[in-house]
């Protein structure tokens, strides 16, 4: 349906300073284009990602959340990304249980040199959230979206 194609999802992104944020910068340097549907917050490490940041984003009306950090073994802080992965897996189960579609939450590993991968992943994340339509499950003021 064409109306669904028009839907512009709003996605909260969290990038670690050392890898994915650098990859996003390099995508810029390389002028790789992607849709303007996410807003990024820079964090030192995906190990810093408290689950409540993800929950808060959904409560504020984000249609999707994207967390991205260093490849396994490349973490600037030795293993923060591995803790993040573990927390993320559990949270994803929980969110699924409360009715949030799994495709609303994305986790990826993108290094500071992978500009193309950043662009491709950005497009994938945006498109998969776009396909789901607006998220309403956790929005505080349900009246606004209803």
């Amino acid at each position: 349906m064409s109306e669904e194609n028009q839907f512009q999802p709003r996605i909260a992104a969290f990038f670690c300073n050392w890898c994915t944020y650098g990859g996003a910068d390099l995508a810029g340097v390389s002028r790789l284009q992607y849709p303007p549907n996410f807003r990024a917050i820079r964090i030192p490490c995906t190990g810093r990602m408290s689950p409540k940041f993800i929950l808060q984003a959904f409560r504020q009306g984000a249609d999707g959340v994207w967390v991205s950090g260093c490849h396994p073994g490349d973490c600037h802080y030795i293993a923060g990304n591995m803790y993040a992965r573990r927390r993320f897996t559990i949270l994803k189960n929980l969110l699924e249980y409360v009715g949030i579609e799994p495709n609303r939450l994305h986790f990826s590993w993108i290094s500071s040199a992978e500009a193309t991968k950043f662009q491709q992943t950005a497009i994938e994340v945006i498109e998969s959230v776009r396909a789901l339509g607006p998220a309403t499950r956790m929005v505080k003021d349900i009246g606004k979206v209803a």
Binding site: R10, A12, V29, P35, R39, P44, S112, A113
Partner: protein
């Protein structure tokens, strides 16, 4: 003018080159109180490492790990980059040298260029791009690569239409910053320094001279460096694996080893290039990962030389990954219709074979570049037989000319970690004569007293950058500015053409003061490159530098949404709103000051430990050597000679005497470490010796604890006295118990205890050691029959010459596989070695008067020491460095360093240079009286803490301790600010300064309000 010898040496060093070795040497020197001139031939630093896709054995992305070092070198107040420049001559004596440098014109004003790329975009002249090995094109106005430092464009006059034909000037017309300057002239500079370090690197061998491989004619035959560019995400095909001929995806690729190495027929290169086996394995594995369809990767080799730390595991891993290894040197390549290639070769068993591949990669060797050879000649620096800069084993980074030092591949083929290690070693050696000049030429930042803004309502100033047209060409900067003015707490808004320019910084400082701002937001490029700059500006205005945030509206907005200006403008507004929300909540942070005790403890009194101590003393630091044994010398006491033939015992005697005579060194023999407290700058170590306990306070610790020798249970060792280990043979010769002239038949067996399932690593030195012993026997008794039974001969680098000498003198080499190991038996009194010869395909029986076992070097598995210093051991028990590529002698724990066999098996000269490297790294700490710690660290709200222990379990730096009440407390000296504890705590007790829960939640809350 005559040279006047000053009483005080010049506190500056010139580093020639711009690769990773040059960068490391420069950073070490600049961080320990010396001013550095870095002279690079091309327009940007980075060297060959910047061209690599990944680095072995960890497959780290090369650019990702290099880039922070580039930025650090580029921004360092005490490193002066002199690009497009070459050293002409050096005059004077060590301590006071005058260097003539010729700097070519860049035709771009470095102070004005904002690296927007308009010049390159408009330049009509396209030429092959050297950075991409000619596989892509660049313009005459160009930047070497996107992450180049300095990130400034240059005009290549030889290819510029204006310089060649007098017309064009397109770059000048379109440059928004007025940076193009056609009038620039070449300049001759005269620079006064105390020492010079040569780090000019190598030249990849050009295989055009191999007619049988037809590299010049067959487009799908590429060099290894070309293949790196093909694999690289920033390469000509954006990391898409294709062959250059028709851009088709290859399904079968062959790597041919030893192209331009171990070869006297096509080139005058008898030496082994040391790195090609590993990079071929890496390329094969990465290619298989990159390939969409199943890729058949085959490596054709003579010996696989995977001798470094974790290299053997990578080799075995590649085999499990399906990479084929074929032991054969390829005779010739022919091209098939369609561009594929046919390899004709003979297997080890003598069978003739032919196989077709879509693409062939030539594993080119490393050679001395003609330019660097000229430089050596101009400077009077001697070259060795292989034409690399000559050094000796006991002074591995000193050249033949006093005051001129060398590191990296200029002194022989080597990989990145060794180059980095030597770079630090050269920094140590170059500066040890300059200690009196330390700190005399560097600039210290001026400290501005900070205004206390606590209790004030936030007054946020927003500076929106146009970045020429980079931002303003897409984003409606005026609209963003107007919008920012409506946000809560914002009291001042301004737009700048180039916020980062120096004059804007000066203006901003004034504005901050005039407007009474106490928070600053800049909407511009990336915090990764520009946060430190703006923080300095804030500091200069007397405001705490942590009261700052940057909205990335260029790299992550205008540049990536160029086709949707309206959306990009909305995004920029959102980003500014988020930054203002965060900035309003930020609090001033204090940077804890740590005092540094300028005193070192060296653990271990072997060659590494003694060299470390002597170099520390030369730098002027009091040093304590703690040795568990009752004598100094370690394993070297059992060694006869180095690979270059130098006498180890004579050296050891001199070294020990020097240590004993040095007043700054105290030796504690028969002493062990009981306990270690404290952290960088302030360690308190309890020593135990016969006379009782002693408390030693020190600022740094160097781990030089060495390793042991594997005692075999195989090959009749311990049952027949004629079967001896390496070290036992050397010792017996040194003690006069073994007369080599009486040996008629000797057999050496390699890899005894190494490359086995329980010890899956190569001990690196044994092949060379056996060859040395075989040659010694041949010298004492030319008639003696000597055989070496081996798996792969790993006589890397110039050691290959010893291997060739042994072959030419009639030493027999018999290869074995792990499943057909040789056997040692006795028949009556006769000692026999039986081996399966893979070429003859039959068992051969060798009689022996002496069987030498090339036994493994084994780690001490010193978990106690590791725990006390909070440093890790790897799976084989070697101490694990902070980063295997770029921090080879450091640990993640600050103030602790290592050298020698404790790190991994290595020959003596590497142990010596590693000791010097560890001292150089230690000097970056010891040369400071105090250290500032970043303010962005974690803290614990103890009212919420229940002492559950999750935080100190997850902390990767063991920075969280339990206090006397059982609650968590952060040691700010150890915390690196990752925030893992904050996200892990179930009670919300920890928080991270600068990235607090409140800061992040505030950004999330306003994120979607637009």
């Amino acid at each position: 003018m005559t040279q006047k010898i000053t009483s005080r040496p010049v506190g500056a060093v010139m580093v020639v080159g711009g690769g990773i070795a040059a960068i490391q040497a420069s950073l070490d020197l600049a961080d320990s109180g010396y001013y550095v001139y870095m002279v690079e031939k091309s327009s940007a630093i980075g060297g060959v490492m910047s061209q690599l896709d990944k680095t072995f054995p960890t497959n780290d992305c090369s650019m990702c790990i290099l880039s922070p070092k580039l930025v650090e070198a580029g921004r360092h107040p005490n490193i002066e980059l002199i690009t497009l420049a070459e050293v002409q001559e050096v005059q004077g004596m060590e301590g006071d040298l005058t260097v003539k440098v010729l700097q070519k014109a860049r035709y771009v004003d470095l102070g004005k260029c904002i690296a927007c790329g308009a010049c390159a975009a408009k330049c009509p002249k396209r030429i092959p791009d050297e950075f991409n090995q000619g596989l892509g094109k660049r313009k005459a106005a160009h930047v070497k690569y996107p992450q180049a430092v300095p990130l400034k464009y240059a005009i290549d006059a030889e290819n510029c239409i204006y310089f060649q034909k007098g017309k064009c000037r397109a770059c000048e017309k379109f440059c928004p910053a007025g940076a193009i300057d056609y009038e620039q002239q070449d300049q001759e500079l005269e620079i006064n320094v105390g020492a010079v370090i040569l780090a000019a690197g190598f030249k990849p061998y050009d295989p055009t001279s191999y007619p049988q491989y037809a590299y010049a004619n067959f487009t799908n035959v590429v060099t290894a460096l070309e293949f790196e560019r093909i694999l690289s995400a920033s390469g000509p095909w954006m990391g898409h694996l294709v062959r250059p001929g028709d851009e088709a995806e290859p399904k079968k690729i062959a790597w041919l080893q030893c192209v331009g190495s171990r070869d006297l027929n096509h080139c005058d290169h008898p030496y082994c290039s040391s790195v090609c086996c590993m990079y071929a394995i890496k390329e094969a594995v990465i290619a298989k990962e990159h390939s969409h369809a199943e890729l058949d990767a085959a490596i054709f080799f003579m010996d696989m030389r995977t001798y470094g730390k974790d290299f053997e595991r990578t080799y075995v891993g590649a085999q499990e990954h399906g990479v084929r290894f074929v032991r054969s040197r390829i005779h010739s390549i022919s091209e098939l219709p369609g561009g594929s290639l046919r390899l004709e070769y003979v297997t080890e068993k003598g069978q003739s074979k032919s196989e077709d591949f879509d693409m062939v990669v030539l594993s080119q060797g490393l050679e001395m570049s003609p330019d660097a050879a000229d430089l050596c000649r101009r400077l009077g620096v001697e070259q060795n037989e292989s034409r690399f800069a000559a050094t000796d084993s006991f002074a591995p980074v000193a050249t033949s000319r006093p005051g001129v030092y060398v590191c990296g591949a200029l002194a022989g083929p080597k990989d990145i970690p060794l180059s980095v290690m030597e770079a630090s070693a050269a920094a140590c050696a170059a500066s040890s004569g300059l200690a009196a000049g330390r700190g005399t030429l560097i600039t210290e930042p001026v400290e501005v007293p900070q205004r206390d803004v606590r209790g004030e309502a936030p007054r946020v100033g927003v500076f929106v950058c146009s970045c020429g047209i980079n931002i303003a060409g897409v984003v409606d900067v005026k609209a963003v500015m107007d919008y920012a003015a409506t946000l809560p707490n914002v009291v001042y808004v301004e737009n700048n053409l180039f916020t980062c320019s120096q004059d804007t910084q000066d203006k901003m400082t004034e504005v901050i003061k005039e407007q009474g701002l106490n928070r600053m937001v800049v909407a511009a490029c990336s915090p990764r490159t520009h946060e430190p700059l703006f923080q300095e500006t804030l500091q200069a205005a007397g405001i705490n530098k942590y009261l700052f945030d940057l909205a990335n509206i260029r790299n992550q907005d205008s540049w990536v949404h160029a086709d949707d200006p309206a959306a990009a403008t909305e995004k920029a507004k959102d980003q500014v709103r988020m930054a203002v929300a965060k900035a309003s909540l930020l609090e001033p942070l204090t940077e804890a000051k740590l005092s540094i005790l300028p005193k070192a403890m060296v653990i271990g009194g072997g060659v590494s430990g003694m060299n470390a101590a002597l170099n520390l003393a030369a730098q002027g630091y009091e040093t304590h050597i703690v040795e568990r044994d009752n004598a100094m010398g370690g394993n070297a006491r059992m060694l006869r000679t180095t690979a270059l033939g130098e006498d180890v015992q004579e050296y050891l005697g001199e070294l020990t005497a020097k240590v004993e005579a040095e007043p700054l060194i105290t030796v504690h023999l028969g002493t062990v470490i009981k306990n270690v407290d404290g952290f960088v700058g302030n360690f308190k170590t309890t020593l135990t010796k016969d006379s009782g306990e002693e408390l030693l306070e020190h600022g740094v610790a160097l781990i030089c604890t060495g390793a042991g020798e594997y005692k075999p249970s195989e090959y009749l060792y311990g049952q027949d006295s004629r079967v001896m280990t390496h070290l036992e043979i050397d010792q017996a010769i040194l003690g006069g118990e073994l007369d080599l002239s009486k040996i008629n038949k000797a057999v050496f067996i390699q890899c005894v205890g190494s490359r086995e399932p329980e010890r899956p690593y190569c001990s690196k030195v044994c092949c060379t050691h056996s060859v040395e012993s075989a040659l010694a026997i041949k010298e004492a008794n030319p008639e003696a029959q000597v055989a070496i039974i081996y798996r792969d001969m790993r006589t890397y680098g110039d050691r290959e010459r010893l291997y060739q000498e042994a072959r030419s003198k009639g030493v027999i080499f018999v290869r074995y596989d792990p499943d057909t190991k040789p056997e040692v038996v006795t028949e009556g009194d006769t000692l026999l070695v039986k081996a399966q010869d893979p070429i003859l395909q039959r068992t051969i029986v060798l009689e022996a008067d002496l069987v030498g076992l090339a036994t493994a070097i084994v780690s001490h598995q010193d978990e106690h020491l590791a725990q006390m210093f909070k440093i890790p051991l790897d799976q084989d028990g070697w101490f694990l460095e902070a980063h295997v590529k770029l921090r080879p002698v450091d640990f993640a724990t600050d103030g602790v360093f290592m050298a020698g066999l404790a790190h991994y098996p290595k020959p003596l000269e590497e142990a010596v240079s590693q000791a010097q490297a560890a001292v150089s790294r230690a000097a970056t700490v010891l040369s400071r009286t105090e250290m500032m710690l970043p303010g962005t660290v974690a803290f614990i709200d103890q009212r919420k803490c229940v002492g559950c222990g999750v935080c100190w379990t997850v902390c990767p730096y063991q920075a969280i301790d339990q206090d006397e009440n059982g609650l968590a407390v952060v040691n700010e000296a150890l915390c690196k600010g990752c925030g893992t504890c904050v996200a892990s705590c179930r009670s919300g007790a920890p928080n991270l300064r600068g990235f607090s829960n409140q800061d992040v939640l505030a950004q999330i809350s306003v994120m979607l309000q637009g």
